[in-house]
Subunit: 479 residues, 2 copies
């Protein structure tokens, strides 16, 4: 059985390294466990304190009478082995070793200590995450062991990472984009549990709809390919790899003790494995959100709908750059579209509605396009928000009435627009410069429509959806 199935769902956690001194890493992590809303039991272990943050503290895990499911060790390197030994004796089956100072130091002493903790774990049939990691996040039980407060729990995105920062520090970035995060695993040095285990685990985890990987090295390439191919049949996997340059490789070694390979080698490995490659964390998140909520298109023919020339042209340009097509519509489709839009609009592909305030037309247009058989997906620009009225309402009572009167119907309209892609099994991606603070954009995102502030990002996310279609097709034709 995959050890993560139990490790990710502890009912009780013992925490080493927390105290009543707020600026210690262990204290920060315990605080976040408590404040994020974990409902299980939490036992601080401390050599001297009687009570830590209102919880009774124990001098050793052996003194705890209840069963401890998971040990979280945030300790100086040299005392980790002893604590782990006690965990083993106490029958704890899973441990997260947050402490650094092991193999990643590239010092002989660190390497030996890492061997030692692995030997202790094996002897007691204990499974480890880390060392040199930030641990886990699991929305299903409101558990976050990381140093960063207030993770945006929820959604369908899972991530496993050889960098703790990329599973935790990114919370504010995700929040600013309205992106939620379902589960994360920071694997650190991968002394025991590694990325292969994580992918294998995420495959069977019900709420996970897309999987992201931050990779500096792959320690078990054959198993990685095998498990990714099995997983990608039902769940898309996106990876970023940052080892393949001279300085990147040097840094990566000092970071996780990993030997890296050139980009080309990894590109080919990812291609074999059915893994979509993103350039950086921000792009990976773009892809993961689209893949977690939009259907994948059966082809790359895209309709582009816009109410403004520049964004329409940019979407057409970047769609083609990204490997999509924006084919011209047939005369009969153009006829139908023209009836909806009126004579001022341009109903080629892109459709340019010009500055039309009738935003409600988007739904009709989308349904007509999806039903036409001429396109496999759509890119849309022209959503506007109530923020648009901010100056008008100061001058016109009528504008205030219009703005107030439209908020609810418009929100409902956007929610119904968001249903169109699912009901036609064709994806939709929206481009907008309005931020997450805009009610319109938040409504679309909450209804599972990805919104990006640039034509390039829209087009690349749509391309990732199409790439995933082809991956599924390839993998299913093999066996």
């Amino acid at each position: 059985m995959n050890p993560l199935k139990e490790l990710m769902y502890p009912r009780s956690i013992a925490v080493w390294g927390a105290s009543n001194r707020p600026m210690k890493m262990g204290t920060i992590q315990l605080t976040n466990i408590l404040e994020t809303g974990f409902k299980g039991k939490v036992y601080p272990i401390h050599p001297r304190e009687k009570e830590i943050m209102g919880l009774p503290a124990h001098r050793s895990v052996l003194e705890i009478e209840d069963r401890v499911d998971l040990a979280l060790l945030v300790l100086p390197t040299e005392v980790v082995p002893q604590a782990l030994e006690e965990c083993g004796k106490a029958g704890v089956k899973y441990a997260i070793v947050v402490s650094g100072g092991f193999k990643e130091t590239a010092r002989e002493e660190g390497k030996l200590l890492e061997k030692k903790i692995l030997e202790i774990a094996r002897r007691h049939s204990m499974r480890l995450i880390g060392p040199n990691c930030l641990g886990i996040l699991n929305s299903n039980i409101s558990l976050s062991t990381t140093t960063i407060p207030q993770p945006p729990l929820g959604g369908g995105i899972a991530m496993a990472s050889q960098s703790g920062a990329y599973t935790a520090m990114v919370y504010p970035m995700l929040i600013s984009q309205g992106i939620k995060i379902h589960q994360t695993i920071s694997v650190g040095n991968e002394a025991d549990i590694d990325l292969v285990d994580c992918v294998d685990y995420f495959r069977e985890e019900e709420g996970v709809r897309s999987i992201g990987l931050y990779i500096e090295t792959i320690r078990r390439p054959r198993e990685f390919i095998e498990v990714c191919r099995r997983t990608a049949k039902t769940k898309p996997i996106v990876a970023i790899y940052v080892g393949g340059t001279e300085a990147g490789s040097r840094s990566s070694f000092s970071h996780t003790g990993a030997i890296t390979g050139p980009d080309e080698l990894y590109r080919s490995l990812f291609s074999q494995a059915g893994v979509i490659v993103a350039e950086d964390m921000d792009e990976m998140v773009d892809y993961l959100f689209a893949l977690s909520c939009q259907p994948s298109p059966s082809g790359n023919r895209m309709a582009i709908i816009s109410n403004s020339g520049g964004p329409g042209t940019s979407l057409a340009y970047h769609a083609e750059k990204a490997g999509l097509m924006a084919p011209e519509f047939s005369p009969s489709l153009r006829g139908k579209l023209g009836e909806m839009t009126g004579p001022l609009a341009f109903v080629g592909n892109p459709i340019d509605l010009t500055f039309d305030t009738n935003v409600f037309i988007f739904k009709e247009l989308l349904e007509c396009l999806y039903s036409s058989g001429e396109v496999d997906g759509a890119l849309l620009y022209g959503i506007f928000g109530p923020d648009f009225f901010v100056n008008l309402v100061k001058r016109f009572e009528e504008a205030r009435r219009i703005a107030e009167g439209m908020t609810q119907p418009y929100t409902e309209f956007l929610a119904s627009l968001a249903q169109v892609p699912q009901s036609h099994s064709k994806p939709l991606v929206v481009m907008s410069f309005l931020g997450q603070n805009s009610l319109a954009i938040a409504t679309l995102r909450e209804n599972q429509v990805p919104v990006y502030p640039s034509a390039r990002r829209c087009s690349r996310a749509m391309h990732a959806l199409w790439e995933y279609s082809r991956i599924k097709e390839r993998l299913s034709s093999v066996q």
Copy 2:
């Protein structure tokens, strides 16, 4: 004389197309002129209304007794010529024709109308922006003629664009990133004033420190190259070009009536012109902000400072991908750095401070690196914000005291850190996942340090700074 010198600084504006009906485009634009804080005189022109938004309305511009510096025409296409004719008779020297329906329709009628308005303008020695545009924004006189409220006035970035959306709709995106905008010109169909005029104008405009161009076509290539070369000696120019694909080109024609050329042609034109190319609007804004506030490096050797392995490795990787270098430091420099950081940090390049809460070390490190002669610029990850304490302060009185006590010194520290690049004439770019809402990030931005949420964006912005160094060198060696 460049017509924009006067056009951008009107003391009085006559506005056609505004009424007391709030949902009309002219009304929206007049509202925004008034609400953005323009201090000059504004004269609504309307055939029937006596008063519009509290301002006395005139039936014709000929009825206005004062001098009118600028005409803003937001009218149905067919009545534009008559209004312009009256402007000419009234001695108005400059007009912005917002109305569409001209050459961009690709209809004979529209082309003829565009010829006609140009003929009227020439006959009266009047200069035009548009038609089919959103007009101008000038922070210096708090003037914005566009349809979008609340532009983020200020800063040193100027933009000229063949898409109105890209000069106006982007305000919320800019605000969410803390970016200000000094001046914009939406040139529309460029019947008269074009991008060449805009670049020429921005060169002599004191507050403009970097220039962005959205381009679907260049109508006067020779003059474009010539004016850009002259301008780029002192002010960096960044362009995005979106005409060079089949669908992009089709769309662009319907949008501005422009014939486009393949990407390669334009790339070579931009290279000759000393123009930096960005992939899309978001990247252009990244570049423009860095170029508006950071010194350009004299070489591409970058120091990378981080307190976390993943971001450090990613910065090293993306710096090299972007065409920068992260060279290893000399033993003597490593010795000096090691004395500052203590034994746990890795002081190669990247420097990895590991999870060090002593953020104040960044300034010392930066000064040591800049003074070493071994690097030309720096990329930094590890700025943290008071937001970090959000959970801790709920549990620890001491954490509250620390958090409150550090806010002011930390803000002051960040402001002084932001001075280091200028005093050493070497650029600094910061990577952080904290958003603009974070006090720390806002402080850095306000003190002219660019902050980006990904290693790729940091590295590419830094590369743009270096590219500009080489452009200046090349242009100055020619003459």
